[in-house]
């Protein structure tokens, strides 16, 4: 059963095409990561499905109801967390949850009980009676998430839930999201980081807007298959001496059987590492034999730009330099 189905969604703002034919289906009780750069239409897609924007064409069904024809029914079954924590700074965490509870029409008594439960669930009990103004970024996000869960939504939309958070706060938010899905919620989250989608999502959909067009899904698969499609993780290596750059590039190219990106200024080499450690050890051994001194080496997830390059054959517009 699908909790969310979008078919051929189109949206234009003035002369700018935001979406041209957005199709997506998300199974109940799963997390779908919507990965795309700025301007690819991620937020527009989310806003249409959360009843905030009307599409110019196409249909979207969320939790069994059409978003244009039954927005009221959809609203009773969804939660939305935008890029900013939509909580009241002047109120305390508890007052926020109680106020939003009242506005969800669950009654004063239940609003109080629910606020207590959610504060507990999101580890905010201690800070419950402090004003949100004094909360950290991660605490705000958690409170924001808690708010969207007052009615236990069937579908939750998270628009870049960890943007601007430090790694510790990011981890807090991630574990909060995971615990939601354990409770049966379906999550559609947007992100600019493959790493984030990889850690959280059951499926990843890559959204891209080609020049002159609006965003559409260009790939959709499980994280593992998607990573395999784009050549797995990346090996990132810096050599000590610029003169050894060519030798190193040839060796790495042979081992990874893929094209090596060379950044001469930084003496940096970059290539896919399909089986991670295997490639890493082989590369290091080979370079050692060749007498190439290595200054730094790391394995990492491909950046969004690299994902793009592999899937579309071009860089993200405006990021050619990076």
């Amino acid at each position: 059963m699908h909790a969310l189905v979008a078919e051929g969604l189109r949206k234009t703002f003035g002369k700018t095409r935001a979406l041209s034919g957005f199709d997506l289906a998300v199974k109940e009780g799963t997390i779908c990561g919507l990965l795309g750069p700025n301007g690819s239409g991620k937020t527009t897609a989310i806003r249409i499905m959360a009843t905030l924007l009307r599409a110019d064409g196409g249909t979207a069904t969320v939790a069994g109801f059409d978003v244009t024809r039954k927005p009221g029914q959809v609203r009773r079954r969804i939660g939305l967390t935008g890029q900013e924590a939509a909580v009241d700074e002047i109120l305390t965490g508890r007052e926020n949850l109680e106020m939003w509870g009242l506005l969800y029409h669950i009654g004063k008594k239940r609003a109080k009980i629910r606020a207590g439960e959610l504060l507990e669930q999101f580890a905010l009990t201690e800070a419950a009676d402090r004003r949100v103004k004094h909360y950290s970024g991660g605490m705000r996000r958690r409170l924001d998430l808690a708010t969207t869960l007052i009615l236990a939504p069937k579908v939750l939309f998270l628009d870049e839930p960890t943007t601007g958070l430090d790694p510790r706060n990011r981890n807090e938010v991630w574990s909060a999201i995971r615990s939601l899905v354990d409770g049966g919620t379906t999550v559609l989250m947007t992100t600019q980081y493959l790493d984030e989608a990889d850690r959280l999502a059951d499926r990843i959909a890559v959204l891209a807007a080609l020049p002159g067009e609006g965003g559409r899904i260009i790939a959709e698969d499980s994280p593992d298959r998607l990573k395999a499609m784009i050549g797995g993780d990346q090996i990132d290596l810096v050599v000590r001496d610029e003169s050894t750059l060519d030798t190193a590039a040839k060796a790495i190219g042979r081992i990874s059987a893929a094209e090596v990106e060379v950044n001469t200024d930084e003496r940096r080499l970059n290539a896919p590492a399909r089986d991670r450690i295997g490639v890493l050890t082989q590369v290091l051994r080979e370079l050692d034999d060749l007498g190439v001194e290595v200054e730094d080496v790391a394995l990492r997830r491909p950046t969004l730009d690299e994902v793009f390059l592999r899937l579309t054959g071009r860089h993200i517009p405006g990021e050619e330099a990076s």
Binding site: F13, R47, A50, T51, L52, L53, K70, G72, Q73, R75, R76, I78, G79, L80, G82, Q83, E84, A85, A86, V87, D88, I90, L91, E95, M99, W100, L102, L103, Y104, H105, R131, T147, L151, A152
Partner: protein, 273 residues
């Protein structure tokens, strides 16, 4: 989970939730006001400083056309200006909610969407009533008073609040358009508009081309009408708007309300930021 019947909520339940949700939002507004006294005090300080500046410092040099005490002439202008400036508070709050996703949250919730704006206007009206009471007190302290009946004085207060009520809808509309920084800078536009009226001097004393603008300024209508009702000096006829100040003081705010209410509803539904 409870199942709801969306089919068509009756008008009664629609109204019930509009008021219930409106009250929840009002409470929020009042809590803000209490916890952020700096903002409220700042808002009050401005008219008090203006009263001190114009009433005490410049007052001695000012002459009131047709004779009379300048403080008596000035105060109704100050009351009306404070009501008009209230648009800033409404705008700031609406704009900050819109930019921080709070408005989006309201819009994705099954709550009454009418309640959102209703609550805002309740809260702002309660603030304004208190603000006006304090200003009336300041006026009495510097020698202003009303000379007519209680009924006339209360009618003047009613007209002032009517102006504020109209400004709420102007503020909501502009707040939905403007970013918080722009909303904060709006006083630069607002100040000349509120000054270019009969607030501080009577329009006859202005250059010829400015006089009609000041005369037709909606604020002038409320100022002139409240001077008339309070029995304060400065009521001079001669032009159509000045002769029909009372009528205009009712018509202008109602026109603004009638124009901006549907605009707000439309903009709110179509928010696409």
């Amino acid at each position: 989970m409870t199942t709801f019947d969306e089919a068509s909520p009756s008008l009664g339940s629609h109204l019930y939730w509009a008021i219930r949700d409106g009250w929840t939002i009002t409470t929020r507004g009042l809590v803000h006001w209490i916890r952020n006294p700096a903002v409220a005090i700042g808002g009050l300080l401005y008219p008090i400083v203006m009263v001190a500046l114009f009433g005490l410092v410049l007052g001695s040099a000012m002459t009131v056309e047709g004779g009379g005490d300048y403080a008596e002439f000035l105060m109704p202008g100050m009351f009306a200006q404070a009501m008009a400036n209230g648009v800033m508070a409404t705008m700031a709050m609406i704009s900050s909610d819109a930019s921080r996703g709070v408005t989006d949250r309201f819009r994705t919730m099954p709550m009454s969407q009418t309640g959102v704006v209703l609550g805002r206007s309740f809260a702002d009206m309660i603030n304004s009533v208190l603000e006006l009471i304090i200003l009336l007190g300041c006026g009495l302290a510097i020698g202003w008073t009303w000379h007519g009946t209680w009924g006339a004085a209360l009618s003047a207060v009613g007209l002032l609040l009517l102006l504020r009520f109209a400004m709420i809808w102007v503020g909501i509309y502009l707040g939905l358009f403007l970013k918080p920084e722009a909303a904060g800078a709006a006083w630069m536009v607002l100040m000349p508009i509120t000054m270019l009226a009969n607030t501080f001097v009577s329009p006859e004393q202005l250059p010829g081309w400015l006089a009609p603008i000041a005369e037709w300024n909606p604020l002038s209508a409320t100022v002139a009408a409240s001077r008339e009702l309070f029995g304060n000096p400065g009521v001079v006829g001669g032009s159509w708007p000045a002769d029909n100040a009372l009528l205009l003081a009712i018509v202008w705010p109602l026109v603004a309300f009638a124009v901006f209410l549907p605009l707000c509803a439309r903009k709110y539904r179509r928010l696409s930021r």
